[in-house]
Symmetry: C2
């Protein structure tokens, strides 16, 4: 029932990824609106006119993004007024908003700016609290062949579009289209198993809910983790999803790190904070990614003491006291080095849990015995230490991502007292 | 002239970002094909039929992605055959490919798999070397009202789609549509200036080339850097672009880190390797991101010795010998701490260039004197040391990204002997 039309040359010449597509469709899905089509077209008057004309024939709601600014590329307002045969009328409310906007920034609006104060006759104005171009809503009456359509024009920049959508458009649509069954979704996030292993483990358990309660199940593969996405748009969606989550938990418990859309690093920092357990990491092959992910979490500094990227052997010796004998006889990529790094790190920092990585990220550096992708993840706490061997034969960035995910998975197991092996 | 139709429920319900859009449009642009529309629709037979019917009326080339697999969601093949009134015919070549594909994996194809061996009468088959579903090309003859159209159906998974596109589709299109003026593009990447400052610095210098030689100029804003995108589709594109790059260089030289699509971390590692200069970093507020970016570059281990994420004050003292007096009187976020970190790091690691970050990433921790976003970037070499103060008042992840970019910019200046201030 909803169609989205994104305008912008950059969407058709490879210059930009259209992140509006996912952001907007996710918002509609959450509020129970089905998006039936998304179209991207160039900043070209005829293309805009054609796409809007087709869309308003089919859809109950047509959303356009972009083309509302003051430059000559911006022609959505004008083309749509022309298409609908409506005059462009000066709106004094927008004019004062524009004047205020520039006054606050000690600037005077240029005459060209004031084109944004022109709106098609009869349009509802959505004030733009984060920029200049207002959003516009036009109700197009039904005809014999076509339904009544709301045509909603929104600005392109995310910092203007996103708040206008959540604060003004969604409430307006909810008022106009009451009584929808909102789709609810729940993600159960797992790490340590591949996509097909996750699907197999869940097996037929969810079949009755799928058949009898319209449960939707999808598997979303990410580097190092697999999300089970559960959806329902029934009136009793919450109950259906609760049952589904419980069934997934019963088959996959050891691999689940969240059923609340948290990243694994957020869960790690939260669990560590709850128990006042301090953390430190020493990285070789992950090169700082593990530390970077932990410090992406606000409040990490409460429990995360320090991360060392000991890339060279000298750094492993200087900061972590790894013995030169181990480095010479076992090699930098070895179970023994991973464990000595962890013990040295715990001693140097006083952290309660120390986790380390050493491996061969590639593309160079592999051997028959230790091919590219070989990793040892070491750990030490006051009561135990060890190292896990993994093989992650991917490109360099995926290798780092997957390895950091495994290290976080290990850290989480140590935090909640599960066996790390 | 090219239209792209992406099929998949996940593209319309927020479950997936449509990365095909940018990847495909970039490939077409590079080879001189203009994409005029991209559409995403659900896995729904009627929607697919309607979108393809509309598109082949307008476009010279219509590309579909997805819906060619063996499951019941996959209905592109069947719907398109129906729309064009063509029979589905068994293709023995595909059958042997499928059998071989499964035999290699010690599996037997299920009967359902063999649906992929059915092709609309008269279609050209594009073998899938990385999966099971072949691509299909159908030539639709011109009518009185519509041009001749090539309808090209491609599989959805990137590992199948991407090689099929570059190895088979692009060569086929180049053969069918010879004599196009290929668009060439060049990026000049700058750091240290905002988008409008970059635009202003270039000023009118490029106007003659824009007017007389059809040069295209766009500014692409990223966290911490701005790319100037220069394009030309003229026969003498290379000469036009060379002149444009030279003009941009003459106005912005101090801020340019690459005109060859390199990331700044790649330039840093390359320059350091060329001069055998070793590097080390110590991070507080960037939390490991700086180290992570440097180690994303293959071969970084040749020159990058070590990175320390000294998040706690104790770690700054233990590993970097920052004095407790400095931490107490000046604070962890101060010019003095940034400089002591850099000197301590150089001494501990023996690196030729040491760079450090300390700041307030937020959301918490700001004060009137040092608001959220305050950063000091310290540096030390054998001949000089200092610290730059920056204000990066963004969300936590953007803050880290922008700060790491500034630190890499500083590192590059030290590497090429420019004044860091």
């Amino acid at each position: 029932m909803v169609e989205i039309i994104n305008t912008g040359n950059e969407l058709l010449n490879g210059a930009r990824l259209n992140t509006h597509q996912q952001w907007l469709t996710a918002r509609f899905a959450r509020h129970g609106f089905e998006v039936t089509r998304q179209t991207a077209i160039a900043d070209n008057g005829n293309a805009i006119e054609e796409a809007v004309r087709e869309s308003v024939r089919r859809a109950r709601v047509t959303i356009t993004t972009g083309g509302l600014g003051p430059t000559s590329d911006d022609m959505t307002r004008e083309k749509i007024a022309g298409l609908l045969g409506r005059e462009l009328i000066h709106d004094p409310g927008i004019e004062s908003h524009l004047e205020e906007f520039f006054a606050k920034r000690n600037k005077v609006p240029s005459p060209r700016t004031m084109v944004q104060a022109k709106v098609p006759e009869g349009a509802i104005v959505l004030m733009n609290h984060h920029g200049t171009a207002p959003g516009l809503v036009i109700d197009i009456p039904a005809t014999e062949d076509t339904p009544e359509t709301m045509l909603i024009m929104l600005p392109g920049p995310p910092r203007e579009l996103y708040p206008m959508m959540t604060e003004q458009v969604i409430p307006l649509l909810e008022e106009r289209f009451p009584g929808r069954n909102q789709m609810r979704e729940r993600f159960v996030r797992t790490t340590g198993l591949g996509e097909s292993a996750v699907e197999e483990a869940i097996g037929g358990h969810l079949e009755p809910l799928k058949k009898e309660s319209g449960l939707g199940v999808a598997f979303c593969l990410h580097p190092g983790h697999v999300d089970v996405r559960l959806t329902s748009n029934r009136a009793d969606a919450d109950a259906v999803l609760d049952s589904a989550v419980a069934l997934v938990r019963s088959s996959l418990d050891a691999y689940i790190f969240s059923d609340a859309e948290e990243e694994i690093e957020e869960v790690v920092i939260r669990k560590a904070s709850e128990s006042s357990i301090t953390l430190a990491v020493a990285e070789s092959c992950t090169g700082g990614l593990l530390s970077n992910r932990l410090t992406d979490v606000p409040g990490a500094s409460e429990v995360y003491l320090c991360g060392l990227t000991t890339y060279s052997n000298e750094a492993k010796q200087t900061f972590l006291r790894v013995s030169s004998n181990t480095l010479e006889t076992k090699g930098a990529v070895s179970r023994e080095t991973a464990m000595e790094m962890a013990k040295g790190l715990m001693e140097a920092t006083g952290a309660d849990i120390a986790v380390t990585t050493t491996g061969i990220a590639g593309p160079g550096g592999g051997s028959e015995e230790k091919p590219v992708g070989t990793v040892f993840i070491g750990y030490a706490t006051s009561s135990r230490s060890g190292a896990l061997k993994m093989l992650n034969p991917y490109d360099r960035e995926t290798f780092k991502r997957v390895t950091s995910q495994q290290a976080l998975g290990l850290m989480l197991k140590l935090l909640i007292g599960k066996d790390p092996d």
